[in-house]
Every structure is written in C-alpha cells, then in structure tokens.
Symmetry: C2
Subunit: 159 residues, 2 copies
DNA sequence: GATAAATATTCAAATATTTGAATAAAAAGG
DNA sequence: CCTTTTTATTCAAATATTTGAATATTTATC
C-alpha cells in the first residue's frame, strides 16, 4: 500500500486533512502541507490539491472549510440561494431563509464537517443552530455570511 | 476499466450477482456463471467464488442467499441463536424468538437482500414479516428454517 | 494589466487491484 | 474410503489508481 516516504494511505490522509482544517485555520495548501508534516505525513502540493477537491472542501475567505463529501448531497454552496440573513445571539445562530427553505438549510448545515454546531432545528423560514458557546456561534455566523458573500462575488459571472 | 472479453466492472458484476441470486434459484457457481452469461457477462469460476465471498453470500441448502454486505452488521448467520420457530400464515411470516431478541431478528431480516419481505415488525419475542403473497411467505419461512437447520449441522463442530 | 502567489493539470513512474488458468482443498455421493 | 463435484487459493499478467515533479492556469495585489 505504501507509496512515498513517510506515507499513509489516501483514506487516512484525507481523514487527517478534514481533521486539520476543522481544528486549525488553514489558509493555503502550503500551510496544509506543513500542518500535515506536523502529524508526520509528507505530501506534494498536487496531492493536497486533489485531496481538497475530492473531499469537496471549499475555501471561504481565507480558510478552508470541510463540506459534506457524500457526493450528490447538497453542499454549502447552495446556501446563498436560500439564506437571507444570519445573526448570532449568545450561543445560538439564527438564520433567516426564504420561506419554506429552512429545512434544506438546516439539513445542509448538519452535514458540514467541522462546523461547530451542536444541532439545528428548522421552521418555515428560520433555522436555529445551537453552538457550544457564544464564540462558536459568532464564528459560525461569520462563516455562513462569508459563504453567502463569497458566492456573490466571483468574476463577472452572472450565473 | 475493462478487463476481459464481454466485461463490466467489478461493482456492476457484483450487483448483477445479487440480482440474479435473488430472482433465480442458483445452486452452484457454475449455474451462476451461466446465469451471468445470459446477462452478457463472462467470468471465471475463481472470480465468482471471490465475489460471493466479498458479498457475504451464504449457501443455504442448495441455494445461494444474499446477505447484508454492510460489513460489521449482523448477518443471517446469527438467526439460529435467536429463532425458536417459524410459521407462515397467508402472506405473513410469524417468527417466534427468544425473549427480547425479536428486534434484532427483525433488523437482520430487513437487511437481507433478495428476501421477499415487504416489511417486518417486532414485539418482545415475536416478529411478523409481511410478504407480498402467501407463496412468498412460505418461501421465506422455509428459508429461515433452513438457515437455522443448516447452522446446526456442519461437520462435528460444537461451536 | 503586469507581477506574484496560489491552485489546478499533465505526464510518467510507482504501487495496488483485479482477473483467469491452474491447482489445491473441501464437500457430496456413493 | 474412493470418486466426483464444488469451492477456494496461488500465481502471474493485465489493468487501474495514486503520486510527485514540472508546468499551466487562475486569482489576488498592486
């Protein structure tokens, strides 16, 4: 199974990547490579690039964010279509959505690995996410806001 | 991806095998090979042998039976430890089990691929399985009885 | 819009998996 | 028990996957 020097198999390496990016703030692939080195795994940039793509990891602002890698299931990239606003209140994140879409948003959030939410509940047009503490709630709210903003920007693409 | 003559990939072939053995009464690997040939797939006996093992298919009496291939989950081989008796009544199969184990039996049955049951429900010591018709119910009842008998026989093994 | 930084892709080598033919082992049937 | 049938295993060839170095492309910054 082994391939290069201090090697682990692909599965293990990708699991490590998901772990690393949910714990540390990883901003570039170079940083990720070094973070992996700390865990004793040595890989090339090309490999890390492919891993991130396969895992469906998204870069939001200056941070990699793990997404549901169940292929086929909706990922965080759909949020901008549904989310109207996000507000943290203590350890709760309140998300206002288009009517009828709260369930979908809740569902997506539940599947995002590394998101610091204990659980979510959805009404018609509102999702409430429970975070372990107010810091986490704020972090999550910012993240969601970033995703929605980031998605609006790219190039001059209208679609 | 292709490998031999009229080839499909491993996944497809194994799916076909599960389909074939749940529809036709396949008694030997040779028969299975021919059944596959009918579907346009040509394989060697060694391959079929490995496939059956990987899929967790069990031979009960003179028939191959598909098992849950989720590895780790309990398979049909545990039934003899729990099942005390099986009786078909119209399109219902009534299974009497050791007290408290009906749920487990129900769970196992739900996961057996190719078993002609529409659904099951469990009490404390009784499982009721609903089959599409009385013929299917009888078939299922016999199958379960066979499994329990088959498991008692093998060699001189006490365990 | 030129430059630098970050990420994706191409290509060839290394490694792993899959397969059938041959053969060994096990089970069934006298 | 011996023979036949059925199933599992070994081995080598074919195929597929994974990987890093080099390079191309994209993205950010001025």
């Amino acid at each position: 199974m082994g391939v290069t020097l201090s090697s682990v198999d692909k599965q293990t390496r990708q699991d490590l990547i998901l772990g690393v990016i949910s714990e540390r703030e990883v901003g570039t692939q170079q940083e990720l490579i070094e973070a992996l080195k700390d865990v004793g795994v040595e890989v090339a940039q090309a490999t890390v690039s492919r891993d991130l793509a396969e895992l469906g990891v998204l870069k939001v602002g200056s941070r990699y964010l793990a997404l549901p890698h169940e292929p086929g299931s909706a990922g965080i990239e759909v949020l901008p279509s549904f989310v109207l606003g996000v507000t943290p209140a203590q350890n709760i994140v309140v998300i206002h959505t288009r009517d009828g879409t709260a369930g979908a948003v809740s569902n997506v959030l539940d599947r995002v690995r590394g998101l610091r939410l204990v659980g979510t509940i959805a009404g018609q047009d509102t999702v409430m996410g429970v975070a372990p503490d107010s810091g986490a709630a704020e972090e999550v709210a910012n993240l969601i806001a970033d995703v929605c903003r980031a998605r609006t920007r790219p190039a001059g693409s209208i679609e």
